[in-house]
């Protein structure tokens, strides 16, 4: 390899540094600064106060809201993992030709051809009190009264999340599975492992990086979401994102910025825990 001059190294790293600087460091820095500002009903102004943090961390509502958000993130993670793993397993091990793998994989992406708002809203007439699903259940005589919990509930929120984010689990897990050396599986079977042992001792450990990447996607997306919770929860359910959105719409920008900083810290901790379980650098 040629020895590079310092100038060419600088040139090579500058595009990514500039992009990260402008689109990541600068906005987060701004949020951090604003989170210490003070505000009144109609404006916010430079200052250095801790009230935004003490309001945020001193309120029971914040903790309840975080618990709620963890609940959504946990359930969504569980279901997207089960679905994502199963779909990926089927594609990777039961479909034997690359052509069909590609075809079926593309079919998985079809729902993503429409915007996520539309995918979400389309659930509302389906799940409503007089919606398609309730009408159907009533007409075949399964229930007398419409099921109210289907819409504007935790159920509908998690359902929409799973629908929106399952593919984020499928793709990395499928990718990991495709890298598994098939001879390892043959060896396990030759060694007398039955299906379940083969799955838990060979496939899952080797899929860990895929599972970790998928989990990071799903968890961070759910933790930061507000529109799904607002639309599917009928405006009655809280999440951290909804809480911030309320503050922004009431012009309480510094308060929202403090919440954003806290959320960022929480999500970073969650991601670091995931990465601690799976050493992504080593596995990739």
């Amino acid at each position: 390899m040629d020895h590079k001059s310092p100038l060419s190294t600088l040139l090579q790293i500058s595009p990514i540094s500039l992009i990260l600087g402008f689109f990541l460091v600068l906005p987060i820095g701004t949020i951090l600064i604003v989170s210490f500002w003070d505000y009144n009903d109609f404006s916010f102004f430079p200052d250095f106060v801790w009230t935004n943090y003490s309001d945020a961390l001193g309120s029971n509502v914040t903790y309840k809201t975080y618990l709620n958000t963890f609940w959504y993130a946990g359930l969504t993670w569980l279901f997207t993992f089960l679905i994502g793993f199963t779909v990926a397993y089927f594609l990777a091990f039961h479909i034997h030709t690359t052509r069909w793998q590609i075809v079926l994989f593309l079919i998985c992406t079809i729902p993503f051809w429409t915007s996520n708002i539309i995918r979400m809203i389309s659930w509302i007439p389906f799940l409503g009190r007089n919606g398609v699903f309730n009408t159907m259940l009533q007409s075949i005589g399964l229930i007398d009264e419409p099921l109210e919990f289907l819409l504007f509930s935790d159920f509908s929120i998690v359902l929409a999340f799973v629908h929106l984010y399952a593919l984020f689990m499928v793709v990395p897990i499928f990718n990991s599975m495709m890298r598994i050396d098939r001879s390892l599986i043959e060896a396990a079977i030759d060694g007398g492992a039955h299906g379940w042992q083969m799955l838990t001792n060979v496939v899952i450990p080797l899929c860990k990086p895929g599972i970790a990447i998928g989990s990071i996607f799903v968890v961070t997306l759910v933790m930061g979401d507000y529109i799904t919770v607002r639309l599917m929860g009928g405006g009655q359910r809280a999440s951290v994102g909804v809480m911030m959105w309320n503050e922004i719409s009431l012009l309480l920008y510094p308060a929202a910025a403090a919440h954003a900083v806290v959320l960022l810290a929480v999500v970073l901790i969650m991601v670091s825990l995931i990465v601690r379980v799976v050493d992504l650098k080593k596995e990739l």
Partner: protein
């Protein structure tokens, strides 16, 4: 638009076609409001004005008509109520005209991002209703609680950021629209008469009620309910104490936890969908939302309640950065706005125009009788977009203008304890 056949619906172009002499006569005559369109300034042609507001009055028909009459390009942006306040405060250069509510104005005026209007340049100031001047609907009426429009309508000079207690020559905003709000119900799904605000929390409608999630307005609806229940006595609903806010929110939080509410809504369309789909049978609602549900063929009533109405008003304000030709165009546009055509458009949807006399000229006698005077309709009532709203013989919910606006108990407001109220409201939403 297929509407009235009164001479007033002739456009300027029609008149010009019939000969300039007639047009000239019309122009001269219009100084005294004869109902003939004014000849508007010619130098403002093709000036672009950017206006934002709630979905209520940001209608494309207005932009189209403004282009026809004035030649200006009106760019409209519809936002939710909270977003209108954000826009004024955080993006003062992104608009020329703010179409906002009076309580929003109270919040954003001190930012200095809007400029007052010189009343001597307003052609139709004398036609504006008393509610927006000294606050009196009729000389004998009392002023309701809350942020009544006249309390934030005047300011001391072109650079003032505060409000003046008495009338001055500087208008913070030109009033355009107002109405009395109450609860909307689905009579077919309720099946019995409703006559009190207390019904919103009646366990009979468990899981079928809704309230709007805009704190300044929602808290007032909540207060109307708590007061009607006899649970809370308010000194002034428009300016509650912390204790009153706590009590009110406690009652609503309890109801929420018991599953009283199906959803909370934030935009006009959400309220329509909740009602039309039958998810909700009783809720806070705005007049045109009722109209929209009815035009889908579903029964929906804007139910007058014995405790009275919650009222709101809105108007057009100018951005601070507006100057020169654009400023002239904005004045011309606002004068045009009050000259009647837009007023008629608003009135025929169930709002009241702030200058009712001029609007009357753009409505048929039957429409005026139905919407303003509370008389039975002689013919089918058609909305400005051609949909049939009411059959002949129908009477407006709540009756005449005086019966409805005369029974207003409070205005949408911003309280001294606003910050505390907002925090409590957010806790209620998150509860």
């Amino acid at each position: 638009m297929k509407n009235p056949t009164t001479p007033t619906s002739l456009s300027r172009r029609d008149l010009l076609k019939r000969g300039s002499a007639v047009a000239l006569g019309a122009a001269v005559g219009s100084q005294a409001i004869t109902g003939f369109p004014t000849i508007w300034a010619q130098n403002i042609k093709n000036v672009t004005l950017r206006q934002f507001g709630t979905g209520v009055s940001n209608i494309n028909a207005v932009a189209k008509k403004a282009k026809e009459d004035l030649g200006i390009n009106l760019e409209l942006t519809a936002l939710d109520t909270d977003a209108t306040a954000q826009r004024v405060v955080t993006q003062p250069k992104s608009f020329d005209i703010a179409d906002i509510e009076y309580f929003t104005l109270k919040k954003v005026w001190p930012s200095g991002n809007m400029q007052p209007m010189d009343i001597s340049k307003l052609k139709y100031f004398d036609k504006i209703a008393g509610t927006f001047k000294d606050g009196k609907l009729t000389p004998s009426s009392t002023i309701a609680q809350g942020t009544a429009p006249h309390t934030v309508s005047f300011t001391d000079g072109p650079n003032s950021k505060s409000f003046s207690k008495s009338m001055t020559n500087w208008y913070t905003m030109v009033p355009t629209i107002y109405n009395a709000d109450t609860l909307g119900i689905r009579p077919d799904l309720i099946g019995r008469p409703i006559n009190s605000w207390t019904e919103l929390l009646n366990p009979e409608f468990k899981g079928k009620a809704s309230i709007l999630n805009i704190s300044s307005i929602g808290i007032m609806d909540a207060a109307m309910v708590c007061e009607a229940m006899g649970e809370v006595q308010y000194g002034d609903k428009g300016n509650m104490t912390r204790e009153e806010i706590d009590k009110t929110m406690a009652i609503f939080t309890e109801a929420k936890k018991a599953g009283q509410f199906r959803a909370f809504w934030k935009t006009f369309d959400e309220s329509v969908n909740l009602m039309a789909s039958g998810e909700v049978v009783i809720q806070s609602m705005w007049s045109p939302a009722i109209t929209k549900v009815r035009s889908m063929g579903l029964p929906c009533i804007y139910q007058p309640l014995k405790e009275g109405y919650r009222s709101w008003g809105g108007g057009l304000g100018l951005a601070r950065n507006l100057s020169g030709l654009e400023l002239d165009a904005a004045y011309e546009y606002i004068n045009w706005y009050l000259s009647g055509w837009v007023g008629g458009l608003l009135m025929r949807q169930g709002y009241y125009s702030a200058a009712p006399e001029t609007s009357k000229l753009h409505m048929s006698d039957d429409e005026w009788g139905f919407w303003y005077e509370g008389k039975a309709a002689k013919n089918d009532i058609i909305d400005p977009f051609g949909n049939k709203m009411e059959p002949a013989g129908a009477v407006r919910d709540g009756g005449s203008f005086l019966e409805r606006m005369g029974n207003v108990k409070c205005w949408n407001s911003v309280m001294d304890e606003n910050r505390y109220m907002v925090r409590k409201w957010n806790e209620f939403i998150a509860a």
